[in-house]
Symmetry: C2
Subunit: 321 residues, 2 copies
């Protein structure tokens, strides 16, 4: 099976040794990826953006990093300067997930920024959760998505890592809302995290939810919904930090083998989900690259640097060549 130019629309690569450890697993499977900016300090200025992009390029080949910057109250000049070199600006409500302490406290504060983004055609990427009860956070955030979608009808807004079925309904109601779906929200539920022994390696924000949520997400992905795109949210943490409770699933190594099983030979829909929808929705132009999967038993790595991957040691029916 050959995939054309797979793009991971939501990826955490970290920096330094961690980046060097994990990036080979993405490059092996993806032609491009949208790189999240929640480092310490965040990627939120030209200098940091360039040095981070250089670090990624220095550690990759035939791979296009689509850079995001961290939302703050940017000036118009800053945005004009950044526009050409970024894919989107990532909005984290303050304190919601890993390194989001410096996030946005009130949406109104960034309305001037959103206004300019809309004019310049810079998409908005959103971690959509409130500070409410962990299972309700995405549902409660829906009103914010709706307000943003109405107030900025020409701004393309990406609801990242959708884990709550209700959010998918918004895709039909608002032309300018899009969604990314992770491997873990597509294939897991809270049972995988806490149904047997507690498994910290499946703990992430937003939390994996109910069987009903999973089924609805699968339905949207299986019908090849045009506005639904793959974004892994692969987020490596050291085993030590995972055992301290850090949120994030390092899914990068197993993505295409797991998705190949999920799509069961429906390569056409797989291709849309993994690349075409994203490229068409956002006019992404990156060098084309073919990725081949063969039907051959393959075992997910047990460890990558200091990180335990999702489904470590699990056997898959497909292998990336």
């Amino acid at each position: 099976m050959i995939l054309n130019t797979p793009i991971d629309m939501h990826l955490h690569l970290r920096e330094g040794k961690m980046l060097r450890d994990v990036i080979p697993y993405t490059i092996n499977q993806f032609a491009a990826a949208v790189i999240m900016p929640n480092l310490v300090p965040p990627v939120d200025n030209r200098q940091r953006l360039e040095s981070y992009k250089e670090e990624i390029l220095a550690n990759s080949e035939n791979f296009t990093p689509l850079m995001n910057v961290f939302m703050r109250e940017y000036t118009e000049d800053e945005l004009l300067d950044l526009a050409e070199d970024i894919f989107a600006i990532k909005l984290y409500p303050a304190g919601i997930t890993t390194n989001s302490e410096g996030g946005v406290k009130s949406i109104e504060n960034i309305y001037p920024v959103l206004e300019i983004m809309q004019e310049l055609g810079i998409p908005l990427s959103v971690h959509g959760e409130t500070n409410g009860f962990v299972l309700d956070r995405e549902r409660e955030f829906a009103v914010v998505y709706e307000k943003l979608a109405r107030d900025f009808p020409k701004l393309k807004i990406i609801m990242e890592h959708v884990g709550t079925a209700d959010l998918l309904g918004l895709l039909e109601e608002y032309e300018n809302l899009y969604a990314t779906v992770t491997l873990h929200h597509l294939l897991l539920t809270l049972d995988d995290l806490a149904g047997g022994m507690l498994n910290p390696h499946f703990f992430c924000k937003p939390i994996i939810k109910t069987p009903a949520d999973k089924l609805k997400i699968q339905e949207y992905v299986k019908k090849g919904h045009k506005k639904v795109m793959f974004g892994s949210d692969s987020a490596p943490h050291t085993i030590k930090n995972k055992l301290k409770g850090a949120a994030g699933v390092f899914s990068a190594p197993v993505i295409l083998p797991a998705l190949a099983e999920f799509f069961e030979g429906d390569i056409e829909t797989f291709q849309k989900f993994i690349s075409d929808n994203a490229r068409e929705n956002f006019n992404i132009e990156v060098p084309e690259r073919k990725i081949e999967l063969i039907e051959e038993e393959w075992t997910a790595p047990y460890i990558v640097g200091e990180v335990k991957p999702m489904w470590a040691g699990k056997k898959f029916r497909y292998k990336v060549l």
Copy 2:
């Protein structure tokens, strides 16, 4: 504040070193406790019952262990022999929680045992969860509680560690259903386990659930509902095993200080919840013992043997004398 003869209606003491490490924290606060039998091998015969009770007595003073045995297909002779020396028989659906692999696979198999228990007046203690989705397991088990309550109208059945509000409604519908409530289901929700960093020390079966469930449980406890009794389900695991995902909250050290804050001076209701309801519902006769709490800052222990207690290091306004 003086409590008369507090009884913990659901306690895991383990064996050997672990028992010796944890039992002082119960004896200090309780005159008696119902001791759970899910050891390896389980407490399910006279010999094991006697040796376990002896071990507990050898490590305690002024304390009455009310022994439970593990449900299996006991003969009438066995039950006649055990009846005088046990408080109840504990039913674990197979594979549901710690050391429950040898539990009951089909309720019908134990109908003859339940028949005899009903005749002999031996209560039935139940871990009420199905093998369904982790948040639905107690709700799904309600039909089993209802069937048991209808089929054995004179058998006293205890719904242990209720974490789902719906189960409480059954207390009104069926005269022979009772409930125990733990400290963690009374005071915590899934947010405490997985709302911020993942906290394995709040992971238990049944899992702590939603704010609505917690509020309903608090409502029943605060109104001093006669059929609602305190049962800690305090369940120590070594830190090592907790980090491997073992289910259980070691709440024993903080129970009375935490409940004293919860009841905010309503000693009458506190007394019912912690002792009187249980003694009246089950005609429990144990030597009376007064436990005094004073208003003085007290810090929960950081570590007990190899176990991290619930709320380790937290400051409380009440101290057990």
